[in-house]
């Protein structure tokens, strides 16, 4: 194999090592990764604890949303029922959909990623453990507060996709809608934080030798999932911000009387909303691929084909968003494109299904509980997929649009594509976190009750939908042919719920959380998460030579446990993991990892308070919460760029690597770039909104300020970019170990000041040209993009001031420094984005 980084692959022959390990090495490793005690547990950042709490919270939200579903089914069990009022029913279906999509499905798979990936990749932990903790706590606190809105009658009631004009102030003047718009803000932040963690974790912390081609399918699926979050979530961030700005400041993004368009919301929402289905499905497909191989006790058939299908699904799923809009009267050819893509996306999904079937057929199935969930899931998902192809056909979609047929379709897809694999996964992987295995006998009951309940609930809905029953109605008239079918659906829902209840009984009887004496590899899996682990993950990080290392090398577990592979102890006395190259996973350097901290918790709690204060219009407390949240974030990252005396470390067998580096090889570089993609996507979707509204209402557009001013703005931003770049060069010019003085950070601060000056000229220029954000869609979108730029300029100032403070404390180390690198590249990005936006808004349409 060709080396990717210059690492000599001959060195791999040194493993497993044979010398006895020095005494006390394991104890030192355990001490470094020790968890806090008592209340200090709240500050723990180990993936075992954070991941477990994350999974448990996601499951709690699944139960809560399920209870809401039962309430709705009771209401619909017979015609003209009065179990729920119309208003409460609206809140129930909105909260059910929102919680299932935002508070259960996405967090649940991210949670499983946090829990499983480090062990699966044999990393000590994911690269930013405090970010994982932040993502969890923001989700936990914010999610519970959001759910509590139901108890005070202020829960959102406009459906989980919140279409304007129903959700505009004209038709929804109360704050219920604001609860949704701001309430999911923290969930978006949490999801993106998790995605950054997963992308960098999968690409940079794999065990040596675990090339992309040997990566577990779940890791591949999580990688595609996280990239999709980074591309899709900015769209929903933007549309929720736009609708909130319309409601709060009367900026008419979606008001057609002033040059806005309600369909803009639908485009932005579904650009997120449909990929969201695959965001949920793909990780579950990754779990399925892993469980299928174990269930059949044979390697997955068509591994590469399966990966290709995951990547293809990731791409094509971004070309199907407008199939939710077939009934809106889009141009005919445009409609055809989305219809074609909607059918095309079933091909890669089909490839995966056939790979699973072929694997099951080529092996010998052991009919365990996970096996039942795997096979059941294939059947249910295929049924949902087939009705998906049906509604991908435009004339058929017109017939069943917004009917119960759609409710049936989406539940078959989501339950078969995510919930059933998830339950299978809970049985399959529970041996990693529990002292006792869950009951096989109860598990089979759980499966059959859920399987039967699902079909009883949702199969009749195809008929009620075809017969014309619209979705989201709180009741219906008798003798329309809906009565019996709805009663059957309600009975089915309770049978499904009984299955879930039995699962809770199984958990209560058998699940006992542990981080060391776990039940282990109950079903005989072949991947690395089944190695013996502690809070430090594996004792030594193995060299990976195949896709199922435990099947191919039965002695591997013992060698790993005896410390015969990489990093058998702690090389610096601190928490650390090996950073490897993205393709071939060659060891590159040792990353020092932060330990427990209360600041991620503080930042998360105040992030949630920030959004909820804005919702209830407690602006002063909102500003206070925002400041505290930002201060907590800065305090938590303070320790993550600490210079230590030791510059290299022995990671086993005499192989020496550097400790913490900067530049394109560093994991921090990858994380920042991922974040910049998120920010760039928000701006890109803003630009799309601008162009879209121009296409719909060109008559409200006014002329841009003069060209000279535009050139001045571009020049200021180019200077800002130069100042940021110069700060890095200035630092690089100093000898290692010397203090570079205050000039580098001051140059970065100059860059931030130039950004602010350019923004000032831009805003005042548009105002002088007569553009008013309340007057037209053009004004609203231009000022929204400038507000986005303003937010980033403020962030740049805070970052430059933070850099200055670190410099004042003598923490700016030459010739490279992670903090300076991050700040300079952020300012450079904001400058380039500012140039692009200013030129587009001022030169188009001219």
């Amino acid at each position: 194999m060709k080396s990717e980084t210059g690492f000599d692959h001959e060195l791999y022959r040194l493993f497993p090592t044979h010398r006895p390990r020095p005494p006390g090495e394991l104890e030192e490793l355990e001490k470094a990764w020790e968890r806090p005690r008592g209340w200090g547990m709240l500050t723990a950042v180990n993936n075992n604890y954070v991941g477990f709490a994350y999974v448990a919270t996601a499951f709690l939200f699944f139960l809560l949303a399920g209870v809401l579903a039962l309430g709705m089914r009771v209401q619909l069990a017979a015609p003209m029922q009065e179990f729920l009022s119309q208003e409460t029913y609206n809140q129930f279906f909105t909260m059910h959909g929102t919680i299932m999509m935002f508070l259960f499905a996405v967090p649940a798979v991210e949670a499983l990623g946090v829990l499983l990936l480090p062990q699966m990749l044999a990393a000590r932990d994911l690269p930013f453990p405090r970010l994982s903790a932040y993502a969890f706590w923001a989700y936990f606190v914010g999610g519970l507060l959001f759910f509590a809105s139901l108890f005070v009658g202020l829960a959102p009631d406009g459906g989980w996709f919140m279409y304007p004009p129903l959700t505009s102030t004209a038709f929804s003047p109360e704050i219920n809608t604001d609860f949704w718009l701001l309430g999911i803000g923290f969930i978006e932040i949490s999801a993106i934080a998790g995605a950054v963690e997963i992308i960098v974790g999968v690409l940079r912390t794999r065990a040596p030798g675990m090339t992309l081609d040997r990566m577990p399918m779940f890791a591949w699926a999580m990688l595609v999932f996280a990239v999709m979050i980074v591309i899709a979530f900015p769209s929903v961030i933007l549309c929720t911000l736009l609708l909130e700005m319309e409601r709060a400041f009367n900026w008419p993004f979606f008001d057609p009387t002033r040059g806005g368009d309600p369909l803009l919301w639908q485009h932005l929402f579904w650009f997120f909303g449909h990929p969201e289905v695959y965001i949920i499905f793909l990780p579950a497909a990754g779990m399925m691929s892993m469980m299928v191989a174990t269930v059949a006790q044979t390697p997955l058939v068509g591994y590469r084909l399966n990966v290709l299908a995951l990547v293809a699904t990731g791409f094509i799923s971004f070309g199907v968003w407008a199939h939710h809009m077939f009934a809106t009267g889009m141009p005919r050819v445009a409609t055809g494109y989305f219809s074609a893509a909607s059918m095309a996306v079933s091909l890669p999904a089909g490839i995966q299904v056939f790979c699973w079937i072929a694997t099951l057929a080529s092996g010998k199935i052991r009919w365990s509980t996970p096996a039942l969930f795997v096979v059941g899931s294939i059947l249910i998902f295929t049924m949902g997929g087939l009705t998906g192809v049906m509604v991908g056909m435009v004339p058929f979609d017109w017939q069943v649009h917004d009917s119960y047929f759609i409710v049936a379709h989406l539940h078959y897809v989501l339950l078969g594509g995510m919930v059933f694999p998830m339950f299978g996964a809970l049985y399959y992987w529970n041996g990693m976190t529990s002292r006792k295995a869950l009951s096989e006998r109860l598990g089979k009951w759980v499966f059959w009750l859920m399987f039967a309940g699902l079909h009883l609930t949702f199969l009749p809905m195809h008929l009620t939908g075809m017969m014309g029953m619209p979705r989201r109605v709180y009741t219906y008239l008798p003798d329309r042919g809906f009565d019996t079918l709805n009663l059957v659906s309600t009975i089915g829902a309770f049978i499904l719920a009984l299955g879930v209840l039995l699962f809770l009984v199984d958990l209560a009887r058998n699940f006992r959380f542990t981080t060391r004496d776990d039940a282990g590899n109950i079903y005989g899996g072949g991947t690395l998460e089944w190695l013996p682990t502690g809070l430090y993950s594996v004792r030594s990080i193995p060299l990976v030579r195949s896709r199922e290392p435990l099947w191919d090398d039965p002695g591997l577990a013992d060698d790993v446990e005896q410390g015969r592979y990489f990093l058998p102890g702690t090389a610096t006395g601190l928490r650390e993991t090996i950073i490897t190259s993205p393709v071939n996973a060659e060891p590159q350097y040792l990353q020092l990892m932060p330990g427990p901290s209360a600041f991620p918790v503080g930042a998360a709690v105040f992030t949630a308070f920030f959004f909820l204060s804005l919702t209830v219009q407690a602006y002063a407390f909102g500003v206070f919460s925002g400041i505290i949240a930002a201060a907590c974030v800065l305090r938590w990252v303070w320790e993550t760029d600490r210079p230590i005396q030791q510059t290299t470390a022995d990671i086993g067998a005499g192989i020496t690597v550097p400790i913490s580096i900067t530049g394109p090889s560093s994991h921090g570089w990858w994380a920042l770039n991922t974040l910049l993609v998120v920010m760039g996507m928000i701006a890109l979707m803003g630009v799309f909104s601008y162009l879209y509204l121009y296409g719909i209402h060109p008559e409200v557009w006014i002329g841009a300020p003069d060209l000279l001013q535009t050139a001045g703005i571009a020049a200021l931003l180019a200077l800002a970019f130069g100042a940021a770049w110069g700060s890095r060069e200035l630092l690089a010019g100093h000898e290692a170990g010397t203090f570079p003085g205050q000039a580098p950070w001051m140059l970065a601060m100059l860059g931030a000041a130039l950004l602010a000056a350019a923004l000032y000229v831009d805003v005042t220029g548009w105002q002088a040209a007569g553009l008013n954000p309340k007057a037209s869609g053009q004004g609203a979108t231009v000022f929204a993009l400038l507000a986005l730029q303003g937010f980033e300029v403020v962030t740049a100032f805070i970052m430059a001031a933070y850099l200055g403070y670190r410099s004042g404390r003598g923490l700016l180390t030459a010739p490279t420094n992670v903090t300076l690198d991050v700040v300079a590249r952020f300012i450079g990005f904001v400058a380039l984005q500012g140039i692009a936006i200013a030129l587009l808004l001022r030169l188009f349409p001219g």
């Binding site: 992309l212 081609d213 058939v301 068509g302 591994y303 590469r304 084909l305 990966v307 290709l308 990547v311 293809a312 990731g314 791409f315 094509i316 971004f318 070309g319 889009m330 141009p331 005919r332 050819v333 445009a334 409609t335 055809g336 494109y337 989305f338 219809s339 074609a340 893509a341 059918m343 095309a344 091909l347 890669p348 072929a358 393709v583 296409g695």
Partner: protein, 93 residues
């Protein structure tokens, strides 16, 4: 399945192929809403299809793909199929 499959993996080529598909889709759709139901949107789609095929062919040559039964080969073929499929509405829609 695996036995006839080239062991040379090239995930970059496969990803770039799907990016070509994405660019084709985005631009063809943009043309269809900028020029709703006008013949020019169909001509643009047809031209984009030819450009996309050329791009995929160039990608095949650049990455030195040896067989269709490889990660890169299948990725490029799937993307080409997607491009062709997406062009159908422009021709008959």
């Amino acid at each position: 399945m695996e036995s006839g499959f080239s062991n040379r993996t090239d995930w970059l080529a496969a990803t770039l192929a799907f990016m070509i598909w994405a660019a084709h889709f985005t631009l063809a759709w943009t043309a269809s809403i900028v020029f709703p139901d006008a013949p020019v949107a169909r001509w643009i789609a047809a031209a984009l299809t030819l450009v996309s095929f050329a791009g995929l062919f160039a990608l095949w040559r650049w990455r030195g793909v040896e067989t269709a039964f490889s990660v890169a080969g299948l990725g490029i073929l799937l993307a080409a199929g997607g491009v062709a499929y997406d062009t159908v509405p422009a021709l008959i829609g």
